[in-house]
Symmetry: C2
Subunit: 504 residues, 2 copies
């Protein structure tokens, strides 16, 4: 069906309403909008997302002027935090050069004629722009290792890492900055929970001394720590996750192996639980202990849990992300298969754990739910049980802006939709499959689960559905979330014919 | 929430509309309406269904006049086919005398003052009035045995059975009659399918001779068979059902045992499948081979199938039907337990079959779905797996007219609703339970299944849901219906830990 028509209006406090005019036939998507000291600024996209225009708006009459036009043979990314402008009129934007998403901070004329040079180097993948504070642009990036996300500041030709790093380099960092003060948050593998510090420029040592909490100097900047913001978060019921990182297979897939806290190599054989997301825009393998708490809980129930980020996941550059163009199924699934094989080989070589490759389950939510159902449908030789949470089952039913980015228009590329969807595979189901879906899901609508269930029923294939009343795309209700974990383990034990857990 | 407000209008072909006036505060339910040679006639009921008024309508002005008022300490039944009137002005109605629903054919004055005597005897349970043709009233009744439903004709003080009975007495008969011609349909245990004959009065032997098809005289009437209406119905894929009838336990529960067609006593032990409806207004144990085709199919998969009609089911009189007042759960469940025990004892004594009482499943639809879920929740000592199709799970969600008949108003009798409903029992689930429900069910709405599933999830109890897209209360789509049978057997085999079927 037709997309929603989007318009933009400048509304004054005096009641005035000025429509903003742009060529919405060429660029129907309003991808980003901001209002800075120089006025409103927007980014608009063509339906195929291969054309993106950066437009400055005259708030008085709604007229727009073109600041920049980008094209890409696959699609253009919407990077969080841009477009933005410095008070001095430089435009903050990103561009892909040599497979790297790079930061642009440039005068409008340089931006428009393409002469603006990136201010970040090749290999530093800009993930988001965090703040524009005066002439300083604070941004997050992965440099080399996608599992690490650091914070950098660019100002007047200088690039500096912002980090307090009490636990050494690495981790997942973020920050916001305004009026020269930075609030910096770090997660790392060294501990669960977040550490938050307030940084201020060293301006007057007399004043600062009274507030100094932590004498760490701040790398490469003239900032120092002036305060710590405490965390009152509950301690997780699982201990520090027991994670081994691997670069798995020929694609060096970033992979985490999570073993039971109580496990001793050489004692028992562990069934395997693959626990992926595996789709665009979300990374599961990061240098943050918090990211593995649920996986550790599953591991403690008696599984070797494997989390692997395959092709299409963020942080490894634009080519990696674009390698799934036209097929959301096969690369994602093949990479899970490769990661499993590589982890098993590593475990055997290093005598790290004894994995039972005859008992491999896979679970996931959203794209991960799609991937789990896909796994048991197309690779029953590898995967012996699947739990599909809120899965996309037919890409024709999902969000046009998301889906057409990867598969194009369904009328033009029906084959790509067919091979990326699950319904035609339903008659092949030969493994236990549990489908979980929130009935109030307004992102992946319940029709996805119902169509798959109907197709399975039409093919006479037994399966299990758990409909979650009043639950949207994320089961945030505490009792639902807890019982979902317990029921998933029950299902896996039954489906993989595992012994009952030791009473503990 | 409030009931729908119902009104009645007499609409003329000239466009006139005359509202019909009655005391809708006292009797808000319009239970039946007919228009005969004397004008429109209606039956209205109080909300508690303990008061029923029979009203004649003056079509010219919409005024009503009271023909009869009935009361009952529990509820009054709506018997199909009445009220009606003969052309001579006699009113056809029913009344309960000595626990028997009996036919009244009386002048309005006798009816109103209560002096009208029933024209049918004690013990003949009138099930429905089929036709009023001149002074002849054709009706269906069970006399003695509720599994048999026969057709009788009442005319001018005479009562005569209408039957051609080629297969001997017994069976499930029905008929319609107009202008002296009767179309009579019989089902019996002697064959699957229906046999339909056209009967006419013997008026002139010369004329009739040319049309006589069958020389059977028609019992007790001056009718004879003049035509047979052929049946082109498909032959069932199961053979003649292998049914043993029992009167089970101290309540003489009408019960059918269906054994596998291939079964030989003394060879293998059979798991048991209870296959009840068990609620008001629907009888499963009837003298009709067609009634056991699905049960025979289940039996042929390797089960001893038991169908038992407990308290509340029709055909055994008003006291039997009213014995469930205030509790839709315990009598229904207790009677299934009793029937199972009695069948098992009978099978052992008669060496009819070896039943495995450690492997007892129960399946049912609608009230039978409710009963199946109830069985595994409250009697896991007896029932080891349940399949609940389109179950009522909370009687507060079901039809007020049906539910309040048995449980009264939910605000007045909350305790009766609580003990008759399933949600509070959810935390007790310890047996495999499969819930099947049509998402388009406009009778037992999907909320019933979802509330039970939610309560089970909240209690962390594993269960399986099969949502049927586009399916209403009855899964009539052929492929859905077939696969539902197959998936139910798969579920029972897995839940009862049965061996795979012999390949055949």
């Amino acid at each position: 069906t037709a997309n929603a028509a989007v318009s933009l209006l400048v509304a004054g406090l005096d009641g005035s309403v000025v429509p903003v005019a742009w060529d919405a036939d060429a660029c129907p998507y309003l991808a980003a909008a901001d209002w800075d000291a120089l006025g409103p600024i927007i980014a608009v996209q063509s339906r195929d997302q291969r054309l993106m225009r950066l437009l400055a708006i005259d708030a008085a009459n709604g007229q727009t002027s073109l600041l920049r036009e980008d094209t890409n043979p696959h699609w253009l990314d919407i990077v969080p935090g841009v477009p933005a402008r410095t008070p001095g009129g430089k435009v903050v934007w990103t561009t892909i050069v040599d497979g790297t998403t790079r930061l642009l901070v440039a005068d409008p004329a340089e931006l428009a004629d393409g002469s603006a040079a990136p201010v970040t180097p090749a290999g530093m993948q800009v993930r988001s722009v965090l703040s524009v504070d005066g002439d300083t642009v604070l941004f997050a990036a992965s440099w080399g290792e996608p599992a690490d996300i650091g914070v950098w500041a660019y100002s007047s030709g200088e690039l500096a890492r912002v980090s307090i790093e009490p636990d050494g380099p690495g981790g997942v960092h973020t920050a916001v900055r305004s009026g020269g003060t930075t609030v910096f948050t770090a997660k790392s593998m060294a501990r669960t929970g977040a550490m938050t510090r307030v940084l201020r420029p060293v301006v007057d040592q007399h004043v600062v001394d009274q507030h100094v909490v932590d004498q760490h100097a701040v790398d490469g900047t003239a900032d120092e720590v002036v305060a710590t913001i405490g965390s009152l978060a509950e301690r997780p019921i699982v201990g520090e996750p027991r994670v081994t990182f691997l670069r798995a297979g020929r694609r060096q897939l970033r992979t985490a192996l999570i073993l039971p806290s109580w496990y001793e190599p050489g004692t028992v054989t562990l069934p395997v639980l693959m626990d992926p997301y595996g789709g665009p825009h979300s990374q599961r393998v990061t240098a943050s202990a918090d990211a593995y708490l649920s996986s550790q809980w599953f591991a403690d129930q008696g599984f070797a849990v494997i989390v692997a980020d395959g092709r299409g996941t963020p942080g490894r550059g634009s080519d990696w992300e674009r390698s799934i163009a036209g097929d959301l199924a096969s690369p994602a699934l093949d990479d899970q298969v490769d990661a499993l094989a590589a982890v098993a080989e590593h475990c055997e070589r290093e005598r790290l754990a004894d994995l039972d490759l005859a008992k491999v389950g896979i679970r996931g939510w959203s794209f991960g739910g799609f991937l789990s159902a896909l796994a048991v449908l197309r690779r029953p030789d590898v995967f012996h049980a699947g739990i599909a949470g809120a899965p996309v089952t037919d890409w024709r039913l999902y969000d046009t802006h998301y889906t057409e980015r990867y598969l194009g228009h369904p009328a033009e590329n029906p084959g790509d939709y067919d091979r990326s969807s699950l319904l035609a595979d339903a008659p092949k189901l030969s493994r236990p499959l549990m489908i979980i879906h929130g009935l109030a899901d307004d992102n992946v609508v319940i029709a996805h689960a119902l169509r798959l269930s109907s197709a399975l029923l039409a093919a006479g294939r037994a399966h299990s559905v758990l409909p979650l009343t009043g639950v949207t795309h994320i089961a945030s209700q505490e009792d639902v979330a807890e019982n979902l974990l317990l029921l998933q383990v029950d299902f896996l034990r039954s489906a993989l014919d595992l012994p009952s857990p030791p009473t503990s």
